[in-house]
Amino acid sequence: MFDPDAVGDPTRQHHDWEPGIAPSGLFWTIPVPRSWIKVSPGSGRARLTARNVPVTDYHDGISAVLGGGPTPLPSHVSFDVRWAGRGERKKIRDETFGFTGRYTTGEANIRFTASDDGAGVVYRSDPDGQYSPTPDQGGAGSPAVGHERNGVFFA
């Protein structure tokens, strides 16, 4: 969470909720019940929902990755992410990074609440005006859903 219109500026970030980095290096990734995920890979439609997930507020992304920031705070988040699909279908094979997949792009939106335990403030997303930034906007580009293989399954 950044000051209005200051996304990407760590000096103007106030909250960064993540599940943490595992000792193995597994990055912000946690096991979840299968019921959290509803997906139709062919259409590109999917939904990821959860309520009251324990996470940590690292204050900002740099502190979350490198440490050394303000004291991390126990927190909880709830979210409902929806991938609309119905975009381009793409088959990708990347020999450098060692993965392959078939994907369908499409818009995505999110509803979330987040709060630091005991702080008494609940932060809530606005459903209006959401967008996925393009690389020219400093973002990752189009969301997508698909089937992916890597590691020993990349052949």
Binding site: W28, T29, E148
Partner: protein, 88 residues
């Protein structure tokens, strides 16, 4: 538990295919979306920006990276497993 992908960001935030400092790539089409290696399954990834409000009246802009992975993977113990994972 699964193993992380070998690639990601190096310490100067360049993308590298192995030896990464942060084992994650951007959540958009064209990049490896899974953060789990030795993985074969369905994935979804998204970066979403927007506005948010605090119950105290504060206003913010947000930027989320949300993903899921569900399928087969080889765990840290070397065994083939099935699982579901969220990147939050």
């Amino acid at each position: 538990m699964p193993r992380p992908i070998p690639g990601g960001f190096d310490e100067t935030f360049n993308l590298v295919p192995d030896g990464a400092f942060a084992h994650v790539l951007p959540p958009g089409i064209g990049f490896e979306m899974s953060t789990i290696t030795d993985f074969n399954g369905v994935v979804g990834a998204s970066e979403i920006r927007g506005k948010a409000r605090g119950s105290d009246g504060s206003q913010y802009s947000f930027d989320t990276d949300m993903r899921f992975m569900r399928g087969a993977y080889v765990g840290l113990d070397g065994r083939l497993r099935q699982g579901a994972f969220g990147f939050i």
